[in-house]
């Protein structure tokens, strides 16, 4: 118990120290869309998209189900120039569903799609303090 108390105190002091330095600054990743060789890549953080000076950018993901057997996930983005990207999967893996369930205001989303089929080939969700 004493060891636990010491470790807890140490963690608390570390947290307080980090707090005093106000944390690492935000990365401010706006929505980027890149297309080449049959694939499109889209990425960006919620916070940078929402607080960009334009009123154009957005990024997000969606999950849907008929509550019986069908499951459907999609991700979408629009950059400051108005270019859009959208991908979907009607057979998402549990890992994909778990990743999308973690999307919130601290999220950085990256997704890749096959431009011929429109299907998602990769989705990455990153949640960290510097995304705020």
């Amino acid at each position: 118990m004493n060891k636990l108390a010491i470790v807890t105190a140490l963690i608390t002091s570390l947290t307080a120290t980090v707090g005093a330095y106000a944390g690492a600054p935000p990365l401010r990743n706006p929505v980027n869309i890149f297309t080449a060789n049959g694939s499109s890549l889209a990425s960006g953080t919620f916070d940078a998209a929402r607080h960009s000076s334009d009123s154009v950018q957005y990024i997000g993901c969606s999950m849907a189900t008929d509550t019986v057997s069908s499951e459907y996930v999609s991700c979408f983005a629009r950059n400051s120039s108005g270019a859009t990207a959208y991908c979907y999967s009607s057979s998402p893996t549990l890992a994909t569903i778990e990743a999308l369930a973690g999307v919130n205001r601290t999220s950085y989303i990256f997704f890749k799609l096959n431009t011929t089929t429109g299907k998602c080939t990769e989705i990455t969700i990153n949640d960290q303090s510097t995304n705020l």
Partner: protein, 138 residues
């Protein structure tokens, strides 16, 4: 499979339409009670931020998930609009997506659900999107 894709696209377009109108976070709940004979009895949709920031004290929308230690799971979603109309649906022993999706509801979430006459959910969609954040960022 096609049906769910069409409905998902419809739900997404509702969401994106809201986002395109620069209000960005204004998506108050809308409750639709359909006429008898329709296989879908009710539907509700809207964003948490939109509901929370309306001037009335009536509107709300949300979902919940519950689980017991013996494996029983339950999800439900509900919405109340400005007129006080209320719609909800529930599902016992939902699939993995339903439970995970509902547990993912936060300030960036737009909810869309449909229920049949027995009250069971027949469609559930949750979208987390940057445009649904308030200007203050919460």
């Amino acid at each position: 499979m096609k049906n769910i894709a069409i409905i998902a696209a419809l739900a997404a377009s509702l969401d994106v339409t809201g986002a395109a109108h620069a209000g960005l976070s204004t998506s108050p709940p809308t409750v639709v009670i359909l006429s008898p004979g329709n296989s879908i009895a009710s539907q509700g949709y809207g964003a948490l931020n939109g509901a929370r920031r309306t001037s009335d004290k009536t509107q709300s929308i949300g979902c919940e998930v519950a689980a017991t230690f013996d494996g029983w799971k339950y999800v439900s979603c509900y919405a109340r609009n400005a007129q006080g109309n209320y719609a909800s649906c529930y599902k016992v022993v939902p699939g993995s997506l339903q439970a995970l999706a509902v547990s993912a509801v936060n300030t960036t979430t737009y909810i869309y659900f449909m229920g049949d006459r027995s009250g069971q959910c027949t469609y559930l969609s949750l979208t987390n999107e940057s445009a649904l954040l308030s200007q203050a960022g919460n």
